[in-house]
Subunit: 200 residues, 2 copies
């Protein structure tokens, strides 16, 4: 990006964004400087405010600028079901893609003993307190279908059993529109063993 | 991204960056808030400063925070050759990828009558004044091999002839490591008609 420490500094700073390498950062820098300085200034202002003011919901741990997120604060949500997800993006995906009307608990990660991430780091003590409240009847485990996601789901299922709460796991199988030819062996095995009777 | 106007605001603001759609912006927002708030604050500070202080080199028009860019300010560059490029990123690519030691002129675009971009918008009056100075002997046309890049190069070649300056165009042909099988017909035709005698 030609010239000067300031331009190089902006290219470097943009690389803190995930998925942004040197070439992309250069293109972003050039775009902002050449075509959209106002957007650049606006981005800077929002960044400062968000970095300073966004915290975690004290009930479900998702990111929010308020004490409680909009889901937890809503009187219309069903508090007898808690859906556990790995991160706030997964929460949004479930909110926009399903008709789920219960509440959430956001782990902000997965159990990973090798990385030193234990139940305390995921706020599971707080989740346990919520399971103790009598109103919870179902804990929906919506962590990823990865080794860590499965291990975390297993740990949470044990926790649910201790509190006499039903634990359910989101289904694994062939994705919508997926042809069997292109599905990996593990997914196919899951889909096969998880087969259901067809009611006609 | 869960919650609140501030988080949505950050997701929206990040979309001013080229190539960043809603999903990517969400992932960036989550990454900054969850893992790297210091980097987010640093990015904001550099953004503000760059948007306010970066301008154009008064000689070659590239982006710089100084009055003249480092190339134009250098006493070691050969001022008898001017390489015309479309944008500052192309300048950097030539600087890092070739041993060119002349100076540049950055169009910041291409001639595009349909979009209302004429010679004045590309600063060609300033380039004409530089061609009038006796020391320039070669104008290297390094605009892209696109329709607009070719039209701009043609216009610049006419300009060079009027000032009795030699205009050269960067070569078009099969890219390094390119197999003929995978080269498009237009490139192959250019490579064929631009063939050179092999001196052994």
């Amino acid at each position: 990006m030609a010239d000067g420490d300031l331009i190089h500094g902006l290219v470097d700073a943009l690389r803190c964004l995930p998925g942004v390498g040197p070439r992309t950062a250069q293109r972003m820098t050039w775009h902002l400087l050449e075509r959209n300085r106002d957007a650049g200034r606006r981005l800077a202002a929002v960044l400062v405010e968000a970095m300073d003011r966004v915290g975690h919901c004290r009930e479900c741990r998702t990111l929010t600028e308020h004490e409680r997120c909009s889901v937890c604060a809503s009187p219309r949500r069903d508090r007898s079901r808690i859906c556990v997800v790995e991160n706030p993006a997964d929460l949004v995906r479930i909110e926009t893609g399903t008709d789920y009307r219960g509440v959430y608990f956001v782990l902000m990660g997965n159990l990973s003993p090798l990385d030193g991430i234990g139940p305390g780091d995921l706020g599971l003590d707080r989740l346990a307190r919520r399971l103790e409240e009598r109103e919870v009847t179902e804990l929906i485990l919506a962590t990823g279908a990865t080794a860590e996601g499965e291990a975390t789901a297993h740990y949470l299922a044990e926790m649910a059993r201790e509190h006499s709460v039903t634990a359910t796991r989101i289904a694994q199988g062939v994705p919508l529109g997926g042809e069997l030819e292109f599905v990996d062996a593990g997914t196919l095995a899951h889909a096969f063993s998880g087969r259901r009777e067809v009611v006609v």
